[in-house]
Amino acid sequence: MNLTSFQQHLRLGLFGMIMGIVLSYIGFTDFGEVHKMFLFADLRLLLTFAGAVLFAMLFFNFLMEGLPPAKKLLHPGTIPGSILFGIGWAITGSCPGIALVQFGQGQAPTVFTIFGIFFGVWLYRQTHRRFFRWDAGSCN
């Protein structure tokens, strides 16, 4: 799909706004709700997530054709990286998109989470270039 710069801004802007609204109404931006999910004290968010995967799976595997490549490669960083991410998610209640939605909702301390994510992404890019250098499946 070849989109002009303007189309990219328009579509990503519209999509991001709707995604922010949806995540807010689901409660994925509420530390208390996310914490309850990880403790299995409340299965609502867990079922939401599993249901979303099943719904998307139905479309991707049976109803849609000519999908873009999934581009997810298994590499030495997959497991250690995911362990670190899980620790961070449990502590902050934020994954990379959620932190911004939380800030928009007026949860002021999440500005620290956002700075933290920015620093973490920057640090990984430096580290990867110097030490890891495995094929992560993208030029990013």
């Binding site: 990503l12 997530f49 991410f85 899980g86 973490g120 890019r125």
Partner: protein, 209 residues
């Protein structure tokens, strides 16, 4: 907000978004990839400019590719390989080459800022907008609500940033997009980050008691 959608309403909306993103942008949804382009904006901009130059002059790219192939494999091997496909190593065939157009890093920034706006609009619409200096009662019980809690957010955020880049994706890229495509790396990553979050959450509860 206190009243959230039921699980099936949320599942339809979140699953629907995962599908709609592909229809709107022609690629899989993944927020940590957007972070990578924004943080590495210099590199992203250089790549965009190079792609634009090649896109404007396909013959330049074809020649550059051929020159690189010749340098790597030598003239004879290249000629053989190309003859096998009914091609000859001509350096000036002005064939149109479709340059893959990535999403611009500025558009990725729009994406993240729009998510922020979405959060704002949702709380305004439900009449619950307020600037708060804590993350709710559960977070305050576990971490307090002073500067020490802010330090944990900074450190936790750094783990989120570093971990998602190292693991090659986050809740959206691995968890929603990759898992629904049954990509092995995504299934493994999702099980891993969910598992480690569960362990840490139980440890946090243990300490708070």
């Amino acid at each position: 907000m206190t009243e959230y959608w039921s699980w099936w309403q949320g599942a339809l909306a979140l699953g629907g978004l995962t599908v709609v993103f592909v229809l709107m942008l022609g690629r899989m949804l993944g927020v940590s990839g957007s972070w990578a382009s924004i943080v590495g904006w210099r590199e992203a901009r250089r790549r965009e400019n190079t792609a634009a130059a090649f896109h404007a002059q396909p013959a330049v790219m074809q020649n550059a590719l051929l020159a690189a192939t010749l340098a790597e494999f030598g003239e004879q091997q290249t000629a053989q390989a190309m003859a096998g496909q009914g091609l000859t190593p001509s350096v000036s065939a002005p064939k149109r080459i479709q340059a893959a157009s990535g999403l611009r890093w500025t558009a990725q920034l729009t994406f993240l800022l729009a998510m922020m706006l979405g959060g704002f609009l949702a709380t305004i619409a439900s009449g619950h907008f307020e600037v708060r200096f804590d993350l709710g009662s559960v977070h305050a019980r576990l971490f307090g609500s002073d500067w020490r809690a802010w330090i944990t957010l900074l450190v936790g955020g750094a783990l989120v940033g570093f971990g998602t880049q190292m693991g090659g994706g986050c809740t959206s890229g691995h968890g929603l997009s990759g898992t629904s495509r049954l990509a092995p790396a995504s299934l493994l990553a999702t099980a891993t980050f969910f598992g480690s979050a569960v362990v840490i959450s139980f440890i946090l509860e243990g300490y708070a008691k």
